[in-house]
Amino acid sequence: MLIVVLSGFVLALLAPTLYRLSARWSGCVFSLFPAVLALWFLSHMGEVVGGHGLRFTYPWIPAMGLELSFNLDGLGLLFALAITVVGTLIITYAGSYLHGHPSLPRFYLFILMFMASMLGVVLSDNLIALFVFWELTSVTSYFLIGFEHDKDTARAAALQALIVTGTGGLALMAGVLLMGQIGGSFEISALAADSAAVQGHRLYPLVLALVFAGAFTKSAQVPFHFWLPSAMEAPTPVSAYLHSATMVKAGVYLLARLSPVLGGSDIWLYVVTGFGAATMLASAYQALYQTDLKKILAYSTVSVLGTLTMLLGLGSKYAIQAAMVFLMAHVLYKAALFLVAGSIDHETGTRDVRQLGGLRKTMPIICAGAAVGALSMAGLPPFFGFIGKEALYEALTHDNVLVTVVGVLTSMLLFAVAWLAGIRPFSGEETHTPKHPHDPPWTMWLGPVFLGCLSVLFGLMPALPEKLLSAAAGSVLAKEVHMHLALWHGFNALLVLSLVTFGLGVLVYLNLAKLQKVTEFALPAVRCGPSHWYALWLRFLNWSAVGQTRVLQNGYLRLYLATIMTVTAVLAWYTFLAHGDAGVIEFNWGDIGVHEWVLGLVALAAAIATVRAKTFLRAVVALGVVGYSVALFFVLYGAPDLAMTQFLIETLSLILFVFVFYYMPPFKRFSTRPVMARHAAIGAAVGALFTLLVLVATSVQWHPTISTYFSQNSYLMGQGRNIVNVILVDFRGFDTLGEITVLAVAGIGVYSLIRLRLGKRRDS
Amino acid sequence: MVTDIICAAFMIIGTAFMFLGCLGILRMPDLLTRMQTATKPPTLGVACLMVSVALYFPDIGVTVRVLAITLFVFLTAPVSAHMIGRAGYQVGVKFWKGTVQDDLKDKYRGTSLDS
């Protein structure tokens, strides 16, 4: 199993290299891989439908609760087959569709990687592993959508898809982690076994919201659906694969997979059903307004995803069964229709339905495939789509009238859409198109034809997929399910509904233009809403980013300093006043000798003189006085070594000052009085802070210092009488080593900075 | 005892000379006259204080250092004065109104330095 999932990644990485071996037949060669996988999955069909799911566990990062545990049950198998079978057809198709495209090797890389990730999603039992694969599908789809990256629109669409699904992904991540935390395990099977623990927890609504965010964005539920139509910038094989058969179903898959854990509650019911219902109706409606073949299909896909979501929300046995059937039907016809759309685009050079017509003559094989797909989509017998719709109606009628009405309305609209997308380009008169169309090579019609055949076959012999679908529904419902599918149920209410649907559908199609005009008023609300938000969000993001940066990173060093100093002063003062103990401070003015007063005042006056100096030299002289005063303090309090060093260093610093700033212009007064006052206030706050800290430090001593050790051992062990020096070269010689290193680097730095002048050379 | 008295005397004289220099630099009217008072009395003051120190610490090491300091001060103080005076003259500091003679003015045309 590990090989099944991971080999895709390995092959993907090798794809660009392998491609060179046989560029011409690369599509066929690479399609062998999913075909083999499909066969492998088919070979396990017996065990799975017999209720003996396969489980494989490999440790990955146990410390993070991350294991590669794969579960092949009905639901997983259904999806895995969809992924591999459609994958086979798509890759075959793409080999021709993108033949000669410079980036074709990379296409294989990403599509194979995507496929492997998708398999990982539908097979993982570990939530974190599932999430890992989930994110990989988002990322690989980013590259697939942006495949034609020379186009601005493709890049924008790729980004949009990534941002929307990425946002959902992050929510899902939080949801997954919370779920694991609440439920005590990251294995879905373990969580499902104890779903009460999760659902009873006070954070359950949060978990639910997060998981929904992930699933709804991925499966393009309203209001997050807008990315999917934009994503039609992708090459058609990608749309066919990702945006009909696989990735967008990942959200639906997630809801199905987690419904034993999270489902069954009222929130689940209302939220999931509500979003699903809104999506199915709104997108079906929007589909009518599209002229781009692929966008029509995209909106219809969104609508179906809504239907599936709604069914998962309802959660009843019928609903789940219907979901499985409907899902399979959709995979079969929608992938086919996308491939058809791609072929039309490829052959005629346009996808605009208004420009297309009469293609049945020039592209007969494609036309056949398209017709089957469209009729199945329209829900007409004897195609599998009809069975799907029947199952849907059965589930809805078992529930309530509202959802039934929504279902019927959606089906009605989709009927018209199916006609628009699958029949209209082939019927009527031939039109003039940019290229002269004819049937594409077999690799490009194989897909629609094969899928069409399956639609017919399953429609006529529904018993064939019955067991698999039962097993899948069983996985969702966590109990054994025995479905019975048939084309003909007798003349009952469902049939009436179907007939009504067809009738209305025909009416809608025939009066499309009028209908469009009548309902136009609702369009902006539906269409512009969410994608407009995205645009707004982008603009807001950019605005706030630029604005924030302009405010914070404004380039004025003094403002940076003012900020830092203010933060320091405010935070430290607040902390001291709120937590500190001001009572410990002892003032002692009595013990100051005259010379100490004088020295202190001189130091103060010199500091102030430095600040107020009007010329550079005055400032330097005053600074020198400050430095010498400091040295004299060292003299006064028993630090001759320090005093000597300070005198020498201060003098050398002054010399450097004079050396360096020899040619600098005289001081100018730049600042206005209020600015200076503000800066003075900041300075005072910081200065007062340090005065305070010194007073505190001199008043408090919690523990005796370690200095006694030095006094005792400096001569005996360090062989020196000057304790300071012994500390410097021995006890704490490491400090000194670092210190002379600093000095050395400073010296070399000055040297190099003075001598190496790339800036000047380039300027001149 | 005698040593102590001599030591104290030198200390007082030395300090007095130094204070004299400090007072002079404040009181004198122009740069060069200030330098006259800032150079000579403090140099002598340091010498006196050094004698006092040498008497106070009867130690050969101290004595040598005292000699070294005295020598150093006597060597450097005039050089400092010379440097400052020259610089002051060159930047064209103004003489006191009572100045009677200036033989140097041909050598430099004083350039004014706004300090």
């Binding site: 000798g593 005259v594 010379h595 004088v598 005042l601 001189v602 030299l617 005055r618 002289v621 005053a622 020198g624 006085v625 010498y628 003299v635 006064l636 005093a643 005198f647 201060e650 003098t651 010399i655 004079v658 020899y662 | 030591c7 104290a8 200390m11 007082i12 300090t15 130094m18 204070f19 400090c22 007072l23 630099i25 404040l26 740069l31 200030r34 330098m35 340091v46 204080l49 120190v53 106070y56 610490f57 130690d59 101290v62 250092r65 300091i69 150093f72 001060v73 450097t76 050089v79 400092s80 440097m83 400052i84 610089a87 002051g88 060159q90 930047v91 500091v93 350039t111 330095l113 300090s115």
Partner: protein
């Protein structure tokens, strides 16, 4: 002797104040420089008095260093003042 040294230290401090006033008042840079030079010379004296006051001859070493740096500083400053003068700043 120690007491005497302390008293003289106070006198010396007063002297420092006087020099400091000159340092602040200028009016020209050379005036300040003279003041600074004198300040360090006084510092040498203070170090000597301090050594006596606290019976600690190590301050003599400080005095030597102080004398050295005073000279160095003064010389450098004067040199640059001259340079400035010639530079026409």
């Amino acid at each position: 002797m120690t007491t005497l040294a302390f008293v003289l230290l106070a006198v010396m401090s007063l002297g420092i104040v006087l020099v400091f006033i000159r340092l602040l008042r200028g009016p020209n840079i050379p005036d300040r420089l003279v003041a600074l030079d004198l300040l360090t010379t006084v510092g040498v004296g203070v170090a000597a008095l301090y050594g006596i006051a606290f019976d600690e001859p190590v301050y003599l070493d400080v005095a030597i260093v102080l004398a050295l740096v005073a000279f160095l500083g003064t010389v450098t400053f004067s040199r640059y003042i001259e340079k400035w003068a010639h530079h026409g700043d």
